[in-house]
Amino acid sequence: MSQQTTMLEATSLRKSFGKRGQIQHVLKGIDFRVMEGEFVGIMGPSGAGKTTLLNVLATIDRTTEGSIKINGTDISSMNDRKLSQFRRDQLGFIFQDYNLLDTLTVKENILLPISVGNVKRVVAEDRFKSIARTLGIPELANKYPGEISGGQKQRTSAARALINEPSIVFADEPTGALDSKSAASLLGTLAKVNDERDVTIMMVTHDPVASSYCNRVVFLKDGTIYSELYRGDQTRQQFFQEILKVQGILGGDSVDAL
């Protein structure tokens, strides 16, 4: 795997919430880097700052301090309009609760991100077909979200995240609302997409099974990076055991599992 180019680079990120006198520091100086084609998992107990980190990196929220570069572009100084444009062109999102539009069919949902812009209809159709095939949902194209299962919804959501051929896909607890079988199947697909299409993925999860599909897992604790694990040549099972070990030291997952 070619991991020379840096896809995402965060330098001394800080994020705090609240007003003066009652400030809560959530991210306390994080230096972090994701290479092109990596599948990175972010783990950590509740309140460690996982989701905040994801939101900040994904340009949904702003940092208090520090800089973020995605695919060579510094996003920390961009205004809202530019950020929106950037998200649409460069990023993909998968959310825990799918966030599909109930009024749109699966196909319409998937094509939504490239509906405004200069992607030609023929190209869009081709991309849709190829992604739907990869994710195993071509026969659902004309169904509404209300008519399909949770796992199928999350596949749709993943397809939507990939349709604009993003530099990086952010996934926030993508398996949080799925049963273990659907979760495994989705993660397998994500790993496949990562491998075959060379898509960079960053996934926040509290589930060690989910993170065992990653190339690398970063552990957060109290707003700082606690440790990192590389899968290397280990099998998924071995990697899973490693993750469990670190998690055991970190503790607090039982609370998170709620």
């Binding site: 950020l83 649409r88 109930d102 939504l112």
Partner: protein, 638 residues
Amino acid sequence: MTLFDLVVRSMRKNLKHYYLYFFALILSVVLYFVFASLQHDSTVLERTESSFTMASGFKAAGILLLFISGVFVLYANSIFLKRRSREVGLYQLIGLSKFTVTRMLVTENFLLGTGALAIGIGIGLLVSRVFLLLLMKLVGIDGVLTLSFSGAAILQTVIVFVALLALTSLQMAFAVKRSTLLELFKVDQSGERIKKPKTIVSTIFGILGILLIGFGYWLSGHMLNSLLFFNMIVVLVSVILGTYLLFRVTIGWMLYQIRSSKKGHLGLSNSLSLAPLMHRIKANANSLTIITVLSAMTLTMLAAAYSTYYSTEKETRLLQPFDYMIDGDATIADQFTKSLDDAGIAYHASTIEGIELAGTYEKKLNPLFSDRDTTVRIVSERQLSEAGLQIEVKDSQSGVILDAPTYWIVKSAKVPLNLTLEPKRFNKNISIERFAEGNAFNMVEFASTLVVKDEKFQAIKSEYKAVEETQLNDAIVINLINKSDFEEATALYNDIESVSKRFDFYTEYRKTLQSSGMLIFIAGFLGLVFLISTGSILYFKQMTEAEQEKASYRTLRQLGFSGQEIMKGVIKKQVFVFGLPLAIGLLHSIFALKSASFIFMSDVTVPTVIAMSVYIGIYLVFAFLTVGYYRKTVQAAL
């Protein structure tokens, strides 16, 4: 903590849910109270009691107002209940019985209700003076404002709204009773599953909707026959049914066709307009139909009333072409002119000779309504023009008929048309070149006037003088030089004691102005209430939809769509939601006015356009408010 404490607490916490319902309640109270105070105002009572139509008009308006306020408040309450269903569910989940929850809601309702009643009456007291002033101005009374604190109006308002509160409480009790916990938590996600329309059935019904409306429009232009009343009912039913089908089937079918033609490449703005519209087409069909029909009704009512008011002077002039007229009695005319001289009022008097003769048209003027036999009063074109009324006659063989009361029936008659005058042995024929609008004399009796060239008139006069059937009639007409002398001159005119028939423009004008002023006031008031109700209903509905779609907006913002891009789609939806009922309502009302145009003798395009523009202007305010609300929602979504 007592139940009452809980109620107060939840109300304080949920202000944003309440203000909508509270606002609707206050608004209804204010409008109803204003109307009630006018009803009980002595000045208004004086005017209305003298006229049966005005009194009954006021009464009917009161009932209509009551009905509309009732529907509006019930509707607002149902939206309010829907928005709070999660809360109601939660109370039940933690173990409050349905009865307790109901009691809580009812307590709240009465707290809200009494608050709204007090505030509404307070505001009503302030604004009713303005409305009274407006009414006085419209009917042309410059009196002193007498509106006093009306206990009766307050009592009436209180009774009506306590009854309404009881009704809404019942509505709440039913809603709680019927609800299941599961439903209560699912309300937000409600929406219809979009099914592929059954092509044949929906095509048939879709086309039927358009056909029904078209048929209604067509019939409305052809209903002046012996089945008038029946026709009116048929027109109403077919147009309303057609409108419903249009919203329920036709538009859904069209949207479906557009959407399937996109093959999934819907685009952002369609995703935010077309898709959610289709999602709620069933639920929206009823309210859009009601709003369309109400808009059409209001527009028609407003335009008709305003046209009446606007053309009062013109229409009165058509009926009373001269300021004063004294029919056949020269001594009385002298008496009047003398008193005018004494008062120093400048005038112009002239005499119009007339010969009254029976006659027969060569064929019926209108196949359904008229007779071939008639009586005409023949006058000279020259004398009429000297008196101040210009009626052009082509040549000495022709004549022009004026008869305001039957003008709308005979105006469609084919001309030229021969009229043979009695007695037949004279073989006197006049070719009628046209039927002109208005009267040639101040409403004398129901006889048509036939205007001919002066030489023709003199010839007829000399020829017929000897004939015993001939009745000669001279009318003395007086026009004031200075129209500001009207009041004084009319007083003098009315002072003359005489049994002879008298007709003057000014008295008639004042009378008409009063009734048409009252008409436009009532129509305007009701129109405003309708407009505010329909506008608010649309606004409330859209508010609820905006809340439901908040999650979608959030997702879209996260996916990288800017607020402006999202708003484009939202505005497209609003154009549909607000524009379609308005456009169809306008179309309906235009046809309704066209079919009723016979009640106006003058052209009413200008007042109609004015009335409709005002309506559209106020209506659009609600559309802008709605878009503003969406904008806020979209901005706050991320």
